[in-house]
């Protein structure tokens, strides 16, 4: 099982997160998102943040959760290399996570591609033989 994968789309890219549980799949999808923007190996864990998101269903919870990373990136110039989901409530659709990273530095971090937004386009959440996968298309 790969933690995350990137799949084809004409204009943009799908990010897939896999895990033995749904929360692990969410977590790995966020890790994939971070990797798409910057090489994770270059990012030190200097700053810790707690993030929270709330949705109306699982799909919107995923979109809201991933959007939090874009907000932190744009407003505080942060990139992340460690993501741990600390609360995952799939009845009330709430998630909390502790994330670690540092301020983006073009001299230090090999840059990938900026992600503008998380979309609902062909968004998938599924389970097959005990492996959960979430797939989301990001706007670039």
């Amino acid at each position: 099982m790969k933690k995350y994968e990137f799949l084809e789309h004409t204009a943009d890219v799908f990010i897939v997160g896999n895990g033995k549980t749904l929360e692990e799949a969410f977590q790995n999808c966020a890790l994939g998102l971070s990797q798409y923007m910057v090489n994770l190996g270059d990012v030190e864990k200097k700053i810790q943040k707690k993030i929270m998101a709330k949705g109306t269903d699982l799909k919107s919870l995923l979109v809201e959760f991933l959007t939090q990373f874009l907000i932190l990136h744009d407003s505080e110039n942060l990139v992340f290399s460690s993501i741990k989901v600390t609360k995952f409530d799939d009845k009330n659709f709430e998630i909390e996570a502790i994330i670690e990273g540092e301020e983006f530095d073009p001299e230090k971090h090999k840059q990938g591609t900026l992600i503008k937004a998380i979309t609902y386009h062909e968004l998938e959440i599924k389970e097959k033989e005990g492996i959960y996968s979430v797939k989301v298309l990001v706007d670039i």
């Binding site: 084809e8 789309h9 890219v13 109306t56 979109v63 073009p106 090999k110 840059q111 591609t113 937004a117």
Partner: protein, 484 residues
Amino acid sequence: MEIKLKKISDIEWEIPKGTIQGMKVPGIVFASKILLEKMKLDKTLQQTANVATLPGIYKHAICLPDGHEGYGFPIGGVAALDFKEGGISPGGIGYDINCGVRLLRTSLTDKEIHEKLKELVMAIFRNVPSGLGSKGKVRLRSRAELDEVLKIGARWAVEKGYGWKKDLKHLESEGELKIAEPRYVSDTAIKRGLPQLGSLGAGNHFLEIQRVGEIFDEKTAKVFGIEKKDQITIMIHCGSRGLGHQVCTDYLREMEKTFPDILKKLPDRELIYAPAGSELADRYLKAMSCAANYAWANRQMIVHQIRESFEKVFNRSAEDMGMDIIYDVAHNIAKIETHKINGKDVKVYMHRKGATRAFGPGHPEIPSDYQKVGQPVLLPGSMGTASFVLVGSKTAMEKTFGSTAHGAGRLMSRHSALKQFRGEEIKKQLEEEKKMFIRSASWKGIAEEAPGAYKDVEEVARVSHKAGIGNLVVRLRPVGVVKG
């Protein structure tokens, strides 16, 4: 699902009403055989048919020659929804609200800048923040300060000394949608927008130094200030940064929550709209207008930074180098417009997503000096290929609500581009073969935006011209590129 098309001409195809359930009007696709084959590879045609199911839609859902799959609407999609019976859909505008293009002219020639090209590109790269984490040089500290930008757009930048008063006359809507109301923009969107004003961003955004290649229509070119071959122009392509993306995200979510019954009936979740007359339609229109104003202010500040770069490298004033704005177009936007439909003036929510306004001669929204010829349309190519200046027409007013294509349109996914191209090699190839100079914040960015990843912009421009919805004026060739 395969969509059967009815041929109208070699470059116009109809998606008949009834192709999918709930279509209120037919779809119409402007494409040559080659472009159409590419549209069939993804969901472009299906999405065009989906748009035709929206309430209050007039005449047809339109797909332009550069159409490709988007979210909700296809990119290259146009729809006019009635102001009273229709609605407004964020999926018909896009996440990057007022992503757009601006073109500056100079009185310099290719020969005159040749020796200093590298220095010039590097100066612009240093002056205009670009790439991941790019922050503007102006630091706005509070919401109140940013609210001013959201209210008056490009005028804010000019009043602060970024540019000339006459610049405003040559911007679509003069760079200011007056209905904007900042109080409808969330704190989160403000937070994303505060550090980024005056920055290019990344992805497909770029700045390009170009030379005039061919002039197709000398009379019109002259009106736009393009006098001769090899004259240098500068093109800017960027949008409303994180602020616009968040406005779209916020309102998509709110519309889904507020109108679950509408959501259930839609063929695609991302076509969600706020019905005309609802309080949410009003708020979204005003918030979206704020993001549009942010983008115009952003491009205005970048113009200023480019003028400063030229001044420094050539030790001459920008005025002396004739660095006036030719025009600025939005290609992701909705506006309230009035169009003549079946002989009557009708007020509509005009959606243009990956589409450029192309108003014909005599339209009151066109600057006075362009009244006789029509509105300039700026069609950027992909990195390393040509770009075009077209001109809006009466035919566009009749066929496409005054709209035409917005660029080349992607052909290959970013992922395949990364597998197929290497940034270092693409740069070397373009620099050696085309004598260009490229500076990018990321190698990955260059590979993803490789010319081979896009449809042929020449074909898009040709179809636009042949359909008469945006006529050829000038072809521009790239000389130097700064990429985010």
